[in-house]
Every structure is written in C-alpha cells, then in structure tokens.
C-alpha cells in the first residue's frame, strides 16, 4: 500500500434532517443543509484549492484560495464560509478564479523559502500542492522584498520544531489548539505583515508555554512550519497502517506512518470513533520506548534471584519454565500456581493467559491490574445495572447539559476525551467537580466549574449520600423513570435512608468538609439541568469504599432518570488501554469471560466442552491474596504478563516479600521492570506495534491493533503464551489472533457477533454485539437495565480505618500526570521526561511553612507502612492537610508509603487515603539507596562464555 494523506473535506461534517441539492461544476450533489460549498464540492470528488481550511476546524475564510463563483451571487465568495443552498449553481474553476488564486499564491510564495527539494515537507506540503493546483509559474514580485525568512526556528519541543520562516499565517495551528485541543496556548501575535504565531506569553518558547504537545497544531500545519522532528530525521512515510494506541483507556486510533520497517510518526486517524482525529502527547509522540536500549529481546533465566540473568534460547526458557511449573504443581497442587493478565496487552493475549491459568495450571488464581484500579466499577455497576461497564459512548458528552466529574482528572489522564468534554463545556454545559485537588478543569481558559466540592479524601460516599439527600428531600427525583425502570421497593428503602437528617449536607459537612450550601447547589444543578452525565476515575474506586461509591453514583443517576439515552449515564474513565477488555476476557479469579461466575455450572460446562478439560469451580486468589498466600507457602509460582506489581501495587515491602517467597516468578515484559528483580524467568514481550489483536476502550469499543513491524523478540505475546502452554503439554494451535477472537465470540454471549473480519470492515464495535444487538451498543440500558430492574443499593458511609493522628497528620492522595503513564515503564523511556523527570509532592503553603519546606526542597514522606523522599512543590491546588504525588518513578516508589487497606468488596487498594507526615530531608532514604543497589544488582546479565 502506498502513502496517501488522509482525506480532508475542508470544513466539518454537518448533520441535518434537511437535504439540499445543488450543482457544482455541472455535477448535481445532495448534502445536509448547512454544509459548506467547499465540503459539498469535496464530497462529489472536486478539489477546491485551500490553505486555511481543514475539516476538523471551523471555517475561517482567510486564505482566499477557495474562492468560487455562484450564479446569481456577486463577487467570488470563499467556499469554506458559504453554505450550500437549494438549486445553487457553483463554478470552482473559471479563468477569473484561476487568476485570483494565482495572484494570492504569488504573494504567499514571495515570502516563503524556496527550499522545497531539501524541505522536510517536500511532497507532504499543502502549500506546494496548492501552488501546483493553481498553476503557479512565476512570482512577479520577486523575492527581495521584506520577508520572514530570517526568523529563528524554535526547536525547544522534543518532538516537533517550529520554523516561522515557513509560516503562511493561516491560523490553522492556533485554531487547532483552541477548537480541537482546547488549551488556547497559541495566538497570532502582531498585525498585518508583522503577524506571527506565538506560543504562550512574550518570551515563551513552545516548551515553556502552556502547550501540552498534543500535536494538533503539527497535524493542522499545511507547510513545514510545525513539523515532527522524526519526519525531518527519517523522511517522508511510505505507507500507513491504522492501529490503536496502547496508552490510556480512551483508545485513540492512529495511522502508524512507516518508512520501511521504521515508524516515522503516529497521526491520529480522522475516522477513529473514539478520538475523531485527535491525540495527546503520549499517543502521538511517546512511542520511542519501542526501540529503547533497555528493551530485552532475548529470553533469560536464573536459578535464584541473587544470580545474574543468563540469556537462553526460547526453547530452553520455555522448557525451564514448564518443568518448574509442572514440578511445583505436582508438589503443592494446582492452587499453588497463578497468573496476572495485562491490561496493556490485547484481548486475545489476555484471554490466553487466563486460559493457561485455568486450563493449564488448573487453578482460578488469575487476576489483572484492574484489581488495583477499576475492580470496584465491575462490582458496583454489575450489582446496580447488571453489567460491569460504562453506559455511554464518548460522543454522548456532546449532548450533556451538566457534567459531574468525580475523582477523575481527565485533562491529565484521559486528555483526548477531556478535549471533547471541554468543547461541550465551551458550548455552555455546566460542570461540577468533586475532587480534593483543584484539578485543571476547575478553572482553565474558557472553562470554569459551576461548583468545585473539595472534599476530604475518603468521604466520597458521604458526599454522594448528601447529594442524594438533597435530591430526594427537595423532590428532584424522576419518579416516572424510577417506577418504570427500577425496583420500587428498593428505591423506597434507599430514599428513606438518604432522607434521614443525619445524611443532610449540613450534618455531613463535619465529615466531608464540603460547605453544605455548595453541595446543595451542586445537587440541584445535577438533578434539574436536563441531561446529566457522571464521569469518574480512580479517585472513586481506590478507596476502602470504592465499590460503595460506584453504587452511590449509580443510585444518583437512576434517581434522576439519567440513564439510557445520549447525554447522560455513568462513565468510568479507565486507566490503561485495555482495562475494560482485560476484565471482559475473564481475568478476575471468580469469573469467566463475559462476567459469568466460575461457580455457575452451565457456564463452566461451556468452557469445559470447548477446552476439553475440567475447571475448578471455586474462585481463585486475587493479587493481594496471592502475595499473602506466598508468605504462608501455599502459593508458589506466578506468570505475570505486562504488569509491574512491585511498583504499581500498594505497600512495596509486602509485595517484595511475597514475590521473594515464591519459587518461580515469570515476568513477560518489554523491560526488566521492578518486579523482574524478583523473577526467575524473563520472557521478552512485544510492543503494540509488533502484534495483531484487539483492545477494548472505556466505552466498550473493540478496535483492531495491527502489526506494523516484526516483533523485536521474534514472537508476539500470544505466541509466547501459546508456546508456554504447549511446553506444559497443552495442544494449542492458534495461527492468528483472529482465531482466538473466534473462540472468545463462541464462548462469550456479549461478543458473539465480533470477528476480525467485521472489525476490519466496520472500524470498531461496542459490545454487546450479538443477535439482540447486531450493530453493537453505543449506549446501554436504553429500554431496560441488563439485570432487569435497576437496583438501588443503600450505601452507608463507613470511614476508612486509615486515620490521621499526631504522628501522621496529613492525608496523601496519589495520581498521574499528563506526560507520564502508570508506572512510567514506557513514558520514562521517551522524551516525555522533559516534562516530568521525577515525582514531586504537592503540599499546601500553610503545611509547607509549618514544616519549613519550600518548592524544590527534599522532604521525607513517611506513613505507618514506610517512607521515601522526594522533592516538594508548594501549591494551593491541594487543600490544607492534603498532600499529593504521582507514582511514575521507581526511584521514588510512592507505594512504599501506601497501605494495604482496600475496598471492602474487591480489595482494590486505598491509594487515595494514606496518613503521612512530611519533614525536611537532605536526600534519599536508606531504603531508596538500598533498593537502587539491589535493583541494579538484580538486572545483571551474565556475559556469554568465551568460545
């Protein structure tokens, strides 16, 4: 396949029930009312020259290249700003237009460097194409007049350069930053000939400005003014393959643009239904880890973790691993073995790992990283609605009238969806933010929350119960919806509970620290403003009452009738790219794919017949239980695919002790991660660029991952798991991930209509996809809840057992930052470290002053569990008494201080509430230094013996 840029229709698609028919260059064309003449021409195959227009931006009408003539209309209007009209007759190519366009183009080119042959955008340049299109042959003005050719390039951004000498001041970059990304970091500075694109304030360059490096400006630029450094260094792409991003749960689709086997750039795919052609700094730019020098591509083994690694062949590694697994099983039974599936791997790879554990190891000791993030979502939404997933597609937000964001920071963690949300907010939707921190959404350019409820960490249930109290006692419920769609008796029990005066905002203010009046206003706004949508993240789930909070959210949505249509709903924002998929695929120890309990004999029989083996009917161990069981000797071996539990899971010391107690730890990953320090087998993994498969995003959208280059290690991850299974005596013969998906579809009712062929043809599908929903399900629970009647669950506020006191008076809450991802294994190995090279601790000025701390100081962070040191950032983003940090860097190991308190229903760790103390420090703790030494030692690889 050759290289073709993505089609650009010039102005955005318009949706209208009314159609208009007009004639363009003698051809009749029918389009929705409101469509521009430019787009209508493009849709019937015409190409009107353009420079300032792009179909992801509103029409601007500045470049004067897209002029047309319209019968009966005076002058030569710009086709981008001229809407179609019934029976309009348009001419796009006339001698008059040609002359006008050439004249304008002459002016552009007279102030443009004529270095096309050596320009990085040669043959990728819309200015070059348009000059050819208008037949430019001469520039009558010459090239000696005043120009911008001497302006200096800004190369401060690690991923792209800004060369103002090539700028034509079309404003596409500025508009992309405003309209698509919503950051408003760019502007046109000056007037007339002095106009130039400027980032941030005077004196800023791109790196120091508010620019978030989403790349929308680079994509919008019609010249080489904003150009990826990789294109400059590698050259023009030769082919493009559409695939799905491996970072967050938004699930952006990209064109991986290749030159030979080398990736040149990732360009957001305009037809991608999750991202609509937008991206963030991670997905678009942070893929350099794929070829990082730390990447391990050869299998390695060792007898004990104090030895150096020994590189071996795949055969030797698999034989070594299978022999030890088999021996441990023989000595200690099947329940001594287990595995962890990866939310970064594909559905097919995840399905195979859980199949290996259940059918090969013979236990149900399989779990996934959702244990430490969204397992409460699975429990809470299944209990209340009947299925463990969000209710909406992302596009639904564009019909929301009020948006409630609780425990989520979309601009950092789900930035592409955040851009859609900000667009809707700029259109007038109201925003409520419930978060201990003043996240960016609370106040940023052209967005301001109507209410920010800065609650005390750990009091989500109390806040939501108080909101429910207001809604019920002030008569703001949707009684008709409740009577028709929900269990009325359960509703009455719940309504009685929340109506009790002890649940009023005024009484609970002592617990939540949220001013009662503000909470009442927020509750009224949510209940009375039309379509109300709730978006939540790990600030909801990672608490001792994470599951209760999810159910409390569901209660609010049902009580106000905000379920079952566009613009409303309950929307968990998933952390990793395939958390939803990993959960769907049966990664939890108590259920098979499609969320069916392992104790259900009929479901089990389905799998037993297909797999030809009897399954254990009892639930297996969760990750924290596995670690506990390792310490008592009843759990001995673990296969961990694409997960770094030492860094990501709470109480690092306990995780390390559990891993150390095991006889066999198998790590299957791209890098020697922190967990690998305790491993006996390292199986090299493949990146998302090196494999075929599917990911499922936070809106249940299943999308293809397509291999664009061969795996550096020689095998895709599903092939590694299959080889291990076969080394253990199973007989798996999958030739392609599509065959694994066929098996998933055969065994999972919500996936029965899914196949690679359909995904390839349709682009994506949202489960359930089956006979009942043949085209998939963008919105769930439309006519009825999956469980039948919606279930109101009384959620009593039970305070966390993690309490502040004289020794630990502050509450620590943790989160992530835009440029980094999860434990940072990928993003720390990219240029993204420019923005975040270490974890910082945010502390309120009052708390900082009381401790003699100022920004940049080292500080000791201690809890009942452990201590670490990190640098301080003094900020009023956090309330007094609350401190905040990220967990992206192993040198900090924020989870050394987090505790083993966890959600009552799912054991999801309570990362968001840890009682701590801060004090000045002069450097790393003894533990950090010891760990760094141990970590370096554990990564040693033995030199090959001399011939």
């Amino acid at each position: 396949m050759g290289y073709e840029p993505q089609a650009d229709f010039g102005t955005p698609e318009v949706h209208s029930d009314v159609s208009v028919t007009l004639t363009i260059d003698g051809r009749s064309v029918t389009v929705p009312q409101g469509t521009s003449v430019m787009r209508a021409a493009a849709e019937c195959g015409g190409q009107i020259p353009k420079l300032c227009a792009s179909d992801n931006l509103e029409a601007f009408g500045s470049c004067r290249m897209c002029l047309v003539e319209v019968d009966g209309m005076r002058g030569t209007p710009a086709s981008c700003t001229t809407p179609v009209a019934q029976d309009m007759v348009v001419h796009t190519q006339t001698p008059r237009l040609e002359k006008l366009r050439r004249g304008v183009m002459e002016l552009y080119i007279s102030d443009h460097p004529l270095d096309c042959l050596t320009c990085s955008a040669n043959n990728l340049c819309e200015l070059q194409d348009t000059a050819a299109q208008v037949g430019l042959r001469d520039v009558r003005y010459g090239y000696k007049g005043a120009s911008h050719l001497d302006l200096e390039a800004d190369t401060s951004n690690p991923y792209f350069d800004f060369d103002p000498s090539k700028c034509i001041a079309c404003s596409r970059c500025v508009r992309a930053c405003d309209e698509v990304q919503g950051t408003f970091a760019l502007t046109i500075e000056g007037r007339g000939f002095g106009s130039k694109v400027s980032a941030g304030q005077a004196g800023d360059d791109f790196l120091s400005s508010e620019c978030v490096s989403c790349g929308a400006c680079v994509q919008a630029c019609p010249t080489a003014t904003l150009q990826e450094k990789a294109v400059t260094q590698i050259g023009k792409p030769e082919r493009a393959v559409v695939t799905t991003c491996a970072y967050c749960g938004v699930g952006c689709t990209f064109r991986a643009e290749m030159r030979g086997e080398q990736l040149v750039r990732m360009v957001p795919w305009k037809d991608g239904k999750a991202n609509h052609g937008h991206s963030c700094v991670k997905g678009r730019f942070a893929w350099g880890y794929a070829n990082h020098r730390d990447r391990i591509t050869t299998p390695m083994i060792r007898e004990s973790i104090d030895q150096p690694w020994r590189e071996v062949s795949w055969d030797e590694a698999l034989e070594f691993t299978a022999a030890r697994l088999t021996a441990i099983k023989a000595r200690h039974g099947a329940r001594a073995l287990g595995g962890i599936t990866s939310s970064r791997c594909t559905n097919e790879e995840t399905f195979l790992v859980q199949k290996l554990v259940r059918a090969g190891f013979g236990s149900n000791n399989v779990d996934t990283c959702a244990r430490v993030c969204h397992s409460p979502t699975g429990y809470g939404l299944k209990t209340t609605f009947g299925t463990s997933a969000g209710t909406q597609d992302f596009d639904s937000v564009m019909q929301a009238d009020v948006i409630l964001v609780i425990g989520a920071n979309p601009t950092d963690a789900h930035p592409v969806f955040a851009s859609r949300m900000k667009k809707r907010l700029r259109q007038g939707a109201k925003l409520i933010v419930i978060d201990p921190r003043r996240i960016d959404l609370v106040r940023m350019p052209h967005v301001e929350a109507a209410h920010h409820l800065p609650l005390q960490p750990g009091t989500n249930v109390a806040v939501l119960t108080a909101m429910a109290h207001v809604i019920v006692t002030e008569g703001l419920t949707d009684a008709a919806f409740i009577r028709e769609r929900c269990d009325w008796d359960e509703y009455q029990d719940w309504a009685r509970f929340v109506s009790d005066m002890k649940h009023s905002p005024e009484v609970l203010e002592a617990v939540t620290r949220v001013p009662a009046a503000d909470l009442r206003k927020a509750a009224r706004l949510y209940a009375t403003s039309g379509n109300a949508a709730i978006y939540y993240g790990l600030g909801v789930t990672e608490h001792s009452q994470g599951s209760s909070t999810v159910m409390a959210i569901a209660n609010l949505a049902m009580a106000t009738g905000n379920i079952g249509r566009a613009g409303v709903g309950v929307n968990p924002l998933r952390g990793q790219n395939n958390v939803q998929g990993a959960c769907d695929m049966g990664s939890f120890p108590h259920e098979l794919s499609g969320y069916r309990h392992i104790s259900d004999a009929a479901t089990r029989a389905l799998f037993e017949d297909d797999w030809g083996i009897a399954l254990d009917p009892e639930p297996g161990l969760r990750i924290p239980n596995m670690l506990d069981a390792a310490l008592d000797g009843s759990f001995r071996a673990i296969y961990i695919q694409g997960e770094d539990i030492l860094q990501s899971d709470p109480n690092t010391h306990h995780v390390a002790a559990g891993l150390k107690a095991m006889e066999l730890v198998i790590v299957h990953d791209l890098f020697l991660n922190e967990t690998a320090s305790y491993a006996h087998v390292f199986l090299p993994g493949s990146t998302f660029l090196e494999k075929d498969g599917t990911f499922t995003n936070a809106e249940r959208r299943i999308q293809l991952v397509r291999k664009v280059m061969e795996p550096a290690n020689g095998l895709e991850d599903w092939q590694v798991t299959q080889a291990l299974a076969n080394a253990m005596g199973l007989d798996w013969q999958y030739r392609h991930p599509s065959e694994i998906m066929d098996e998933i579809a055969r065994l999972t009712p919500t996936f029965s209509g899914v196949s690679f062929a359909r995904l390839d043809a349709e682009g994506s599908m949202q489960w359930p996809v089956n006979d009942e929903h043949p085209a998939g399900s963008p919105i769930m629970h439309e006519a009825a809840f999956v469980r039948g009647k919606g279930k109101f669950v009384v959620t009593d506020y039970v305070p966390s057992d993690e309490r502040t006191g004289p020794r630990f008076p502050l509450l620590l809450t943790t989160g992530r930052i835009l440029s980094q991802y999860n434990v940072g294994a990928q993003t720390r190995r990219t240029e993204n470290v420019v923005w975040h090279e270490e974890d910082l601790l945010e502390i309120h000025p009052v708390d900082a002053e009381n401790r003699g701390l100022k920004s940049g100081d080292w500080a000791r962070l201690a809890s009942r569990t452990g201590e670490t040191t990190l640098r301080v950032e003094v900020t009023d983003r956090v309330a007094p008494g609350v401190v905040y940090t990220t967990f992206h860097h192993p040198a900090t190991q924020a989870n050394v201080v987090t505790t083993e308190y966890s959600d009552w229903a799912t054991n999801c760790p309570e990362y968001k509430v840890t009682a701590v103390q801060m004090s000045p420090s002069n450097g790393p703790t003894d533990w950090q230094e010891t760990y760094a030494s141990w970590s370096a030692k554990s990564r040693r690889i033995a030199a090959e013996p001399a011939e």
């Binding site: 000791n365 009452q545 120890p589 009892e618 297996g620 161990l621 239980n625 506990d628 009593d796 229903a905």
Partner: protein, 64 residues
C-alpha cells in the same frame, strides 16, 4: 495466610452490609465470601473459630 488480615477483611465486608439489617447482612456477607474468596481463605477463617470477628461476620461464618 495471615488470619488477622482475613478477619479484618471479613469484618470490613460485614460493616458495609450492616446497613441492610442483621439478617440480610449476615446472608450477604456469607454470600460475598463464598463468591469472592479462595477456598483456603474461607477454610482458614472458619478454622479460627470466629476469633476477632464482629457479630455479623461471625454469624456469616456459620453459613459458609
């Protein structure tokens, strides 16, 4: 496994179901433990004889 940890987990589950009233909470706690706990965890909790368990969790133990 650490019996103190298992006892804490059982009590935590019971405390969150307590709002349903004792009879329902006992049944719900027992069902939750059956649904989500590995057999060795249930066995160990049972073998501890209810030591440290709060009333609802203790009553649930009899239903396992």
């Amino acid at each position: 496994m650490d019996i103190e940890r298992l006892t804490y987990m059982a009590n935590q589950i019971a405390r969150n179901f307590a709002v349903q009233g004792e009879t329902a909470a006992v049944a719900a706690t027992a069902q939750h433990i059956r649904d989500f706990w590995d057999p060795r965890m249930r066995k160990q909790l049972a073998e501890a004889g209810g030591k440290g368990l709060e009333p609802i969790a203790c009553a649930a133990l009899d239903c396992l």
